[in-house]
Amino acid sequence: MALDKIGIAKRIAQELQNNTYVNLGIGIPTLVANYVPKGISVEFQSENGILGMGPFPYENEEDADLINAGKQTITALDGAVYFDSATSFAMIRGQHVQLTVLGAMEVSENGDIANWKIPGKMVKGMGGAMDLVASAENIIVAMMHTNKKGESKILTQCSLPLTGVGCVKKVVTNLAVLEVLPQGGFKLLERAPGVSVEEIQAATEASLLVDGIIPEMSLVD
């Protein structure tokens, strides 16, 4: 069965490395913070100016001066620090943040990502996404494999205006875990539980390398 958003978040949480700084985008990526594996210590950065972001506050303990990049009220963990926007993006551009997880509308087989603009529709802006994808050492995209019309979002070439070029390393969808190969093209690494290779191939427009037996994702809480 294809994963839901929580399943995608749980699978991405397995990618977290011990003692690293991680920036989580809005949407599915935010959920990853709820499933950090035991024994793994990570610190979450939010680009509006906090390292050491904690969970949502309890009722009546919210502070209008303490929010994340999605403008949601949050808390700060022990060891947290606040900083200005220029310093925040110095951390990002200077590659002090090891992993960025973000959502996308389209990803292409050379690692391009489009997630900020649909021509003809209201343009809300790129926020920090262009800075994040241009600089992060490691970028994992969290998204559904197809759009609402059932069309593949894993493409030979993006059709929407780009956010960044050649930057995505891995994609985790409701159907599969895919790696972007250095020479271009996707490699199928894992299948969602009960999803066949054929189903993944059918939902993938880009070239997809299927090498040997593809294991199912193991999702533990």
């Binding site: 939010s46 680009e47 509006n48 100016g49 906090i50 969970p55 949502f56 506050p57 309890y58 009722e59 303990e61 919210e62 502070d63 209008a64 001066d65 303490l66 929010i67 994340n68 990049a69 999605g70 403008k71 949601q72 009220t73 949050i74 700060a76 606040y82 900083f83 200005d84 926007s85 220029a86 925040s88 993006f89 990002i92 551009r93 391009d112 209201m122 343009v123 809300k124 802006g125 790129m126 926020g127 920090g128 996404a129 262009m130 800075d131 241009a134 600089s135 205006p161 780009l162 956010t163 960044g164 070029v165 050649g166």
Partner: protein, 232 residues
């Protein structure tokens, strides 16, 4: 000590004229100079170019200036959550320049630091790079971005002293210290104004040299855009 105190928001904004460029601190509705924005609405200053990460919501923040059609151009990184903004943008009444958030912050910082331009990888290969010089450093392409300055930078701090030194609270810091550096005149509205000597110099975020006018805001509503809580 050079005394930077002005008695009220009216005095703080003397000289703000039609057609000027303003920088306004804040991220969403967090850390915005709400007293100054309310005064700009009262002053009916028009044709403003506003440099601010966001454009407020319909009934708060810069949304109040948009409602009164006082803004000619917005320079921002993200402008969702605002129906009037969308209407004005789609009808062509409002010019909008969207800039990657890190480039926006660094352009303000550069403006305050006397650096006319810098190269950044953000936006390379996208429409943000159109018309901009591209240069390769360490095998990676970068684009040239220029500094931003403003006639007035209007920021909000938690505490300030009579010398103009500022301390910000939590993530209400955001663009405020960066923009404070880049105004020809920088106005700081603070929740608590204390005599010089009462803030610990070790704990000051923005040195008073960047601030020309400081006043204690009359009222801070501090609206929350997305209230998210967890159960006990």
């Amino acid at each position: 000590m050079i005394n930077k105190v002005v008695p009220n928001v009216q005095e703080a904004l003397v000289g703000v004229k039609d057609g000027m460029t303003l920088m306004l601190g804040g991220f969403g509705l967090c850390g915005i100079p709400e007293n100054s924005i309310a005064e700009l609405v009262k002053k009916r200053t028009k044709n403003l170019t506003c440099i601010s990460n966001n454009a407020g919501v319909d009934n708060f923040g810069l949304g109040l200036l948009l409602q009164e059609k006082q803004i000619k151009k917005m320079i921002s990184s993200y402008v969702g959550e605002n129906d009037e903004f969308e209407r004005q943008m789609l009808s062509g009444e409002l010019e909008v320049d969207l800039i990657p958030q890190g480039s926006l912050a660094e352009r303000c910082r550069a403006g305050g630091a006397g650096i006319p331009a810098f190269y950044t990888p953000a936006g390379y290969g996208t429409e943000v790079a159109e018309g901009k010089e591209v240069r390769e450093f360490n095998g990676k392409p970068h684009i040239l971005e220029s500094a931003l300055t403003a006639d007035f930078a209007i920021v909000k701090a938690w505490k300030g002293d009579t010398a103009g030194n500022l301390i910000f609270k939590a993530t209400a810091k955001n663009f405020n210290p960066t923009m404070a550096m880049a105004g020809t005149i920088t106005v700081a509205e603070v929740e608590e104004l204390v005599p010089a000597g009462q803030l610990n110099p070790n704990e000051i975020h923005t040195p008073g040299i960047f601030v020309q006018r400081i006043f204690q805001g009359e009222r801070f509503e501090k609206k929350i855009e997305q209230l998210t809580i967890r159960k006990k």
